[in-house]
């Protein structure tokens, strides 16, 4: 049981009457010959790391290696806790808090799950933990949904790229956003087709996003781009669950993302030679970079 495209994945889900998450579990067990129990256990472990990494930044001061970020998650959280109504509601406020917190943990040499990369590691825990808390979901539901996210990420990695150096931030935060959008759609009762529509929207919305880390570090603008990626995921899931379809199918969107990535000049693909990294204030802000 294997699939190489979104179309093949949908066919598999239809024929077997299964969700995308189950199709991915079957690929991992049947096709890659792994034991189901071990695979689930491994994902439980990943989820426990994700949860810790999302909450760690709320416990105390974090100073990043480069000194560009630290304390942001705590400030967003405090604003909500002090009774200020979050501009975009409690779910979104939590999602961006957690997403930005993970990036703080990552940049201070803390433990995270790269999903799909370290630079985009806040998006999935941010979305999943916020939705778990707001909707009282069990860990079991969340762990299953991580396989849905994994399926989308696998299809992007197989048919395009998830590396910022190759495809820019659209390949990192864009992919993470697509993965989260699809998984949340499944959690909320969406069909496999709706999951792919959500993923497609997420990719389409972030198309062309460059990778321009200040000082070459995974700190800024990465942290806020993760907040944007998680918000985009929730937006796209809401759109897809309302049975709104995309004109461009998922597989074409993935190819488009890859082609756009290849036409992004190399100054804007993780080299820190262009974009915000080359802005006059960028050089002065960075403590450790040259």
């Amino acid at each position: 049981m294997n699939f190489r495209t979104g179309q093949a994945l949908i066919k598999l889900c239809d024929e077997n009457n299964i969700a995308i998450s189950e199709a991915m579990i079957l690929r991992e067990t049947n096709y890659l010959e792994n034991n189901r129990e071990e695979v689930i256990k491994k994902m439980e472990h990943a989820w426990s790391i994700m949860k810790n990494s999302a909450k760690e930044a709320l416990k105390g001061d974090i100073v990043s290696m480069g000194g560009l970020i630290g304390g942001e998650a705590m400030r967003i959280n405090s604003r909500r806790m002090e009774g200020n109504s979050p501009v975009c509601g409690s779910l979104m406020s939590k999602a961006i808090t957690y997403a930005m917190g993970v990036l703080e943990v990552n940049s201070s040499m803390g433990l995270i799950v790269a999903a799909p990369t370290a630079g985009s590691s806040g998006v999935i825990p941010g979305a999943f933990l916020a939705i778990q808390e707001e909707m009282n979901l069990t860990d079991e539901v969340i762990i299953k949904a991580l396989f849905n996210a994994g399926a989308i990420g696998y299809l992007i990695a197989y048919n395009a790229t998830v590396a910022g150096a190759e495809g820019g931030c659209q390949a990192e935060v864009g992919s993470a956003s697509a993965m989260a959008a699809s998984a949340i759609t499944e959690i909320m009762g969406g069909t496999p087709r709706q999951c792919l529509h959500a993923a497609t929207s997420a990719i389409a919305n972030l198309l062309g996003l460059i990778c321009d880390p200040i000082g070459g570090l995974v700190e800024a603008p990465c942290q806020q781009r993760n907040a944007m990626g998680v918000s985009n995921a929730l937006v796209c899931s809401e759109i897809a669950l309302s049975s709104i379809k995309n004109i461009i199918p998922f597989d074409e969107a993935v190819t488009v993302m890859y082609n756009v990535g290849r036409s992004i000049p190399h100054e804007l693909r993780e080299t820190a030679l262009g974009g915000l990294a080359a802005a006059p204030s960028a050089c002065g802000a960075c403590r450790k970079c040259k």
């Binding site: 040499m109 433990l111 995270i112 150096a165 450790k288």
Partner: protein
């Protein structure tokens, strides 16, 4: 090309790693861990020469901590990575970092690791971090190789003579070990050759022992699947 591995869900939801960068931190650790496995006796000193992006941003990415952690055998999930310099001191491992910003015609995330063991013998390994925490060893003691650590791997250093490969594969079949990929590299015809065998099943010390009994074999190393 290194042996292409199917993408698993845990390559996407993962690796679980100490940040901040899969290529600059997790990938760097993996290179060092693979290199460490190519030295049998205890390691006294290690010199890292960093190239490209590694040379530019290694401090802000903790690449230096990750490399030392890899030499200590730590996993990418290990909280001790951040304090790996302290652990190296405890373990009596000396380390030096050098940067080379002039060499341009190589992969941007490349490191040379020069390892000196307790008998003052040197092993030089060149590794490349290829993204997503994955790494490839490109050179060992000047011989071009390709080794990813995606499989259980046997590295055999032997004389470039007929019959060695036949003997080795025979031993593997006796132990019921299936070969996934096998590659042979040599510096010059008739001198030292490296056989790299990637297998589906784990390899144990008994296998190594049997292989080292061959006259033409200098030594055999086991590289654990990472």
């Amino acid at each position: 090309m290194y042996a292409a591995k199917e993408i698993s869900v845990f390559d996407i939801i993962g690796p679980n790693m100490i940040g901040p960068s899969s290529s600059h931190t997790a990938g760097a650790l993996r290179i060092a861990r693979l290199a460490k496995n190519m030295v049998k006796s205890s390691i006294k000193q290690v010199k890292f020469i960093l190239y490209g992006s590694f040379a530019e941003t290694y401090q802000g990415h903790g690449t230096d901590h990750a490399l030392v952690a890899g030499m200590l055998g730590f996993d990418t999930e290990d909280y001790r990575i951040k304090e790996s310099f302290e652990y190296a001191k405890e373990a009596g491992l000396h380390y030096i970092f050098e940067t080379n910003s002039t060499k341009q015609d190589i992969h941007p995330n490349t490191v040379d690791i020069i390892i000196t063991n307790e008998n003052n013998e040197e092993t030089t390994v060149t590794g490349v971090s290829i993204g997503g925490g994955r790494a490839v060893i490109k050179k060992i003691n000047g011989v071009d190789i390709d080794l990813s650590g995606d499989y259980h791997t046997l590295v055999i250093r032997h004389k470039d003579l007929p019959g060695v490969v036949a003997g080795v594969t025979n031993v593997l079949s006796q132990f019921d070990i299936n070969i996934a990929f096998m590659k042979l590299y040599r510096e010059n015809k008739g001198t030292i050759a490296y056989s790299i065998i990637e297998t589906d099943q784990p390899i144990n010390e008994d296998v190594i022992g049997k292989i080292e009994e061959f006259q033409s074999v200098f030594d055999a190393f086991l590289i654990e699947k990472l």
